[in-house]
């Protein structure tokens, strides 16, 4: 759910920049530290970013007829954590604006806040909580990605509602409206992306679970268990 260029007026677009920029800088700081410790991570992060971009440019099979794209950020948050995802997400959003005409420069701050920061944080929190509660890994992945998508879309609706409050009822009323209208496409889309990401993780576990163990997404015991269940 990208907000198009020029859509947010006056103070709102720079307020969202003011919110996003500190988080991006924190992410850059974390990333710099990680890279200075383990230099082999730099190319890995770069290809991860490219992967998110390509994933987000694939069309999801749609239910309602309009074509829809996965955000990919939920998956990135599970793989790399929210701080790094914020940085990668910012680059991906910039490229999407320049290559695919999704989003824009002035609305970059708002889009980063919804897709690069809040969505991934929600995904990460759910994923951590779910793993702690010992729920099935794939169910956790499904929930984390689906809720990340919903969080993204709720935040986008809030952003639009704050910028354009309704005459009767103010921002709250227009939030319900924007949320209600975008729910038509976003609710099924989030479920699709959750299912897709869970399936992706299933294939990765089957083919090469060491990659996930190395990223500390799952422990080697869980990987063993998951493969055992599959086989």
């Amino acid at each position: 759910m990208h907000i198009s260029e020029g859509f947010l007026p006056g103070p709102w677009w720079w307020i969202w920049f003011a919110i996003s920029i500190p988080v991006i800088f924190f992410g850059m700081y974390r990333m710099n530290k990680l890279i200075s410790e383990r230099r082999e991570l730099l190319p890995l992060l770069a290809v991860a970013g490219a992967f998110i971009f390509v994933l987000s440019s694939l069309k999801l099979p749609s239910v309602t007829g309009s074509c829809s794209h996965p955000t990919g950020t939920g998956m990135a948050a599970i793989l790399f954590g929210p701080a790094i995802t914020a940085v990668l997400g910012t680059i991906v959003l910039l490229y999407q604006a320049l290559f695919l005409a999704h989003g824009g420069f002035t609305t970059l701050g708002a889009n980063v806040a919804s897709m690069g920061i809040i969505g991934p944080v929600v995904a990460y929190v759910i994923y951590k909580a779910g793993m702690k509660a010992n729920i099935n890994f794939y169910v956790v992945v499904f929930l984390a990605t689906a809720f990340a998508d919903w969080a993204t879309y709720v935040v986008t609706s809030i952003q639009l509602a704050l910028a354009f409050p309704a005459e009767a009822g103010g921002a709250m009323a227009s939030f319900q409206l924007f949320a209600g209208i975008f729910a038509m496409t976003q609710v099924p889309l989030a479920i699709m992306e959750g299912a897709l990401t869970a399936l992706v993780f299933k294939y990765i576990v089957q083919v090469k679970s060491d990659a996930l163990v190395e990223l500390k997404v799952i422990t080697s015991e869980t990987a063993e268990k998951l493969r055992g269940v599959v086989a």
């Binding site: 020029g6 007026p9 006056g10 990333m31 290809v47 992967f51 694939l58 897709l196 992706v200």
Partner: protein, 261 residues
């Protein structure tokens, strides 16, 4: 997905003009458009930028309109919401849906029109940059900024690998499609998951390989690129200045009497 904006930028005749001039013009247009209180300024910007992209940069008109209509579904939906629920004043028309009254009034329509014009103006500016300046040129600009090296390195490598992976993804997708991998919702979900996981593992392996190959070539955390200097030429500078003056003038007469309003 098969053709990205960057492909057009590489063929654009404006590719070799000064990067700072182009970026300056685009930022100027975007900021003027967003801060304008009347739809006239964004429409003027949209007209100028659109003409510049199609006429000077020789972008095929049909493709250009197709790209412009890309974000249309989002914009039109939101603009309709704004038209119905924003602002007061005299009601223009209305109807009842399930004992719920819906109406469009003057202020709402004006606001919707303004937002639409701003979006159009902003998008044409963005497309002007995207369709005339390849990313390779923008890296030179990015390098001059004070952003951390690792950030810039990652964006450059990401750019390179986006095309590698897009090609992989496309060929897998073709292969799956001819084997009826997308015949219904269930199979397409399964095929897409297979595609994405293969892509992830490919990129993972690729990442390890790049590190080894770059280390073997003495990589020290900084890729060096050859940067060409692109001098400002007189005609384009004059044209740009003329554009700036006209936009500022229109902004001045449509946004009231003074700067400090």
């Amino acid at each position: 997905m098969t053709k990205m904006l960057d492909d057009y930028a590489l063929m654009s005749p404006l590719r070799y003009t000064n990067n700072w001039l182009k970026i300056g013009l685009v930022l100027f247009g975007i900021l003027m458009g967003v801060s304008s209180g009347s739809p006239a300024v964004p429409f003027l910007i949209a007209l100028c930028m659109g003409t510049a992209t199609v006429v000077i940069s020789k972008m095929p008109l049909k493709q250009y309109l197709k790209i412009l209509s890309g974000p249309a579904s989002f914009v039109i939906l939101s603009v309709i919401v704004i038209a119905f629920f924003f602002g007061g004043g005299q009601e223009l028309f209305g109807f009842n849906v399930l004992s719920y009254h819906l109406g469009v009034n003057v202020e709402g329509l004006e606001m919707a029109f303004l937002v639409f014009s701003r979006t159009l103006g902003g998008m044409t500016c963005l497309f002007f940059l995207a369709l005339t300046t390849p990313m390779v040129e923008l890296f030179a600009v990015l390098k001059k900024s004070k952003l951390p090296d690792s950030f810039i390195e990652i964006s450059m490598m990401m750019y390179r690998y986006i095309f590698v992976f897009l090609e992989v993804a496309l060929s897998i997708k073709y292969a799956q499609t001819v084997r009826l991998g997308y015949k219904d919702l269930r199979t397409s979900l399964n095929s897409l998951a297979m595609l994405a996981s293969t892509l992830f593992l490919r990129s993972w392996e690729q990442g390890e390989k790049i590190f080894i190959s770059m280390n073997a070539r003495c990589y020290d955390g900084k890729m060096a690129f050859y940067e060409e200097t692109r001098p400002l030429r007189a005609p384009e500078t004059i044209l740009a200045l003329f554009y700036v003056v006209v936009v500022v003038f229109v902004w001045y007469i449509t946004n009231g009497t003074g700067w400090m309003r």
